[in-house]
């Protein structure tokens, strides 16, 4: 119980620090934020109005407090560029990004699980070398390079899939899936390479343990040991890696969404930074960072449930 309490306190502190960083980084902007947002030759009345709506007249700590209380009621302020509430913009963008993240995650597992296990079993055979090399390469190729490769093959050469743009779910499941297939594949190829590595190492480590030798001496075949004993034990740590990959997938989707012109969170954040839309940037950054923090927390929890020894450390 103490372990969970400590973890929970840690989570709250980290979230608090994240909000602190997100808020105060944008306060070191030199000069008047209202002028920076609107430009030097803006209408003085407009500047005054923006100053008032941003609450710039009040002291910094008060502004932080009111921002923080706004957070809890889901009010993140109003975007300057879109003139819409930040939370509704995030909600809109999330529809695309969560779908992209989900597809990427599913594809990652679909690719990594069979390949990782296969590599672990056949790692000493010469014919596995090309697969190792390929997974090594896909580990290193940046996801946006992968995206451009995929577009140039599947959209430009073969014309099988749309190159850019997003079709919402309401216009048909298949069309929507097709529009997200290449983007999620570009994310998944890189992250599956990470996962393949973990699976391979984990399976091989498990195979070296004593109980496997015992099972062997009992006369079980290697395949049977693999599928009834080794895999179960070795895939447990892999589950937690999946949680850690969420951060990668989110970070990767920022650029991927721009390459494929998808109207998600990543696209929103690029636009907001280019137009210095402070309330929107703060809201988005806080949102993304919190997702990562919470995912790490969940990973820790799962890990401790699966392997209770960790709670004693």
């Amino acid at each position: 119980m103490r372990y969970y309490l400590r973890k929970l306190v840690g989570l709250v502190i980290t979230l608090f620090l994240v909000s602190l960083v997100t808020f105060f980084v944008f306060q070191i902007l030199p000069g008047d934020p209202a002028l920076i947002i609107l430009g030097i030759d803006a209408d003085p009345y407009q500047v005054e109005a923006l100053r008032a709506s941003l609450g710039l007249g009040r002291p910094l700590s008060m502004r932080y407090l009111s921002w923080l209380t706004g957070l809890f009621s889901g009010d993140l302020g109003v975007s300057i560029r879109y003139n819409q509430s930040v939370s509704s913009l995030i909600k809109e963008g999330l529809k695309v990004t969560s779908l992209l993240a989900l597809y990427s995650m599913v594809l990652t597992v679909l690719i990594a699980l069979p390949v990782g296990i296969w590599l672990a079993v056949h790692s000493r055979k010469r014919y596995s070398i090309p697969v190792s090399v390929l997974s090594q390469i896909s580990l290193s190729v940046p996801s946006f390079c992968m995206g451009i490769f995929l577009i140039s093959i599947f959209s430009v050469r073969l014309g099988w899939l749309p190159s850019i743009g997003y079709t919402p779910l309401s216009e048909g499941l298949l069309a929507s899936f097709k529009s997200l297939l290449l983007p999620s594949l570009s994310v998944a190829i890189g992250s599956s390479a990470v996962l393949i590595r973990y699976i391979k190492v984990s399976v091989q480590r498990e195979e070296g343990k004593d109980y496997v030798r015992t099972a062997r001496s009992k006369g079980l075949t290697r395949g049977r040991i693999m599928y009834t004993h080794v895999l179960k034990n070795s895939l447990i740590p892999v589950i937690t890696t999946l949680g850690l990959l969420t951060a990668d997938i989110l970070g990767g989707s920022i650029i991927i969404e721009n390459i494929f012109s998808l109207p998600g969170i990543g696209r929103l954040i690029t636009v907001s930074i280019a137009s210095r839309d402070l309330p929107l940037i703060q809201g988005l950054v806080l949102y993304l960072a919190s997702i990562v923090v919470v995912c790490n927390f969940i990973v820790d929890l799962i890990y401790s449930l699966v392997d209770p020894r960790i709670r004693l450390r």
Binding site: T14, T22, P142, I148, D248, I254, I255, V285, L288
Partner: protein, 270 residues
């Protein structure tokens, strides 16, 4: 040094980086054309004798721009690694060697910084400082610190109670002397590996930021800018988009291979 060259990962990575580095050295003195010289009669011409890698939408020579783009990538990679290494080493060694509340506080800050996924931290800093070469370098340098700090910290935690450190302490050596003369050499190879991996991610982040229009600004030659400009002409001139793509991928792969190689030679990852 010889044992590194026997490692295939390191060797391949080293060869690619050396080749790129040669291109970089040549680009200081010579590029086939001026990087910003436009020639509208030669728009988007395919590779030929005059333009080995063809020309872009303004008739600029792609090879020349690529050479200068590699220069930018290396410049950013080197500065990000040096500043990440320096600050990461100082922060990580203090945290790992002394431990206690100092360690707790520092690690909380590092963890907080690591909560911002991918290029988000750099994007945030660019939103504050504005874009351009100097600010991109600044943002990517700050982004590199947490990784170095973590690696250094775990190294120092491992060695701070080891026998040779105790012996030094009994001999009366000061903390600074122990930290940087005695412990540091033990984690040097790990820092080298991390440097190489950080170099790769700095190159990748710069290309990503410039692609998004948040890093270097046109008409400056940067691999990311070339990529984003080329994407519009994908159907008409596919080679144009593939050239910067392959170059970025090669650079990242090469530095990752060197990092992996160093780790493999020194016996596994931590």
């Amino acid at each position: 040094m010889g044992r590194y060259f026997k490692n295939p990962s390191f060797l391949i990575g080293f060869i690619i980086v050396s080749l790129m580095f040669m291109v970089l050295l040549i680009s200081f003195f010579y590029t086939p054309y001026d990087v910003t010289a436009m020639d509208f009669s030669m728009r988007l011409s395919p590779p030929s004798h005059e333009h080995l890698l063809g020309t872009d939408q303004f008739g600029r020579d792609i090879l020349s721009r690529l050479m200068k783009g590699i220069e930018v990538s290396f410049l950013i990679g080197i500065t990000a690694v040096i500043s990440g290494l320096f600050f990461g080493l100082v922060i990580g060694s203090l945290s790992g060697y002394f431990g206690g509340h100092l360690d707790d506080a520092i690690m909380k800050v590092i963890d907080t910084l690591m909560a911002f996924p991918g290029v988000l931290l750099a994007m945030m800093l660019i939103a504050v400082f504005g874009n351009g070469l100097t600010n991109t370098i600044l943002a990517l340098s700050i982004m590199a610190i947490p990784r170095f700090a973590r690696i250094t910290r775990s190294g120092y935690m491992e060695y701070r109670d080891s026998d040779f450190v105790r012996a030094e302490r009994i001999r009366g050596a000061g903390s600074v002397r122990i930290m940087y003369l005695h412990i540091l050499p033990n984690i040097l190879s790990e820092l080298v590996a991390t440097s190489s991996l950080s170099f790769a991610s700095a190159i990748m982040s710069e290309a990503g930021l410039s692609y998004l229009g948040l890093g270097m600004q046109p008409p400056a030659p940067s691999l990311g800018i070339m990529l984003s400009e080329a994407q519009d002409y994908m159907l008409r001139s596919p080679w144009y988009v593939l050239i910067p793509t392959i170059t970025i991928a090669l650079l990242v792969i090469a530095f990752n291979l060197i990092g992996d190689g160093v780790q493999e030679v020194n016996g596994g990852e931590r």
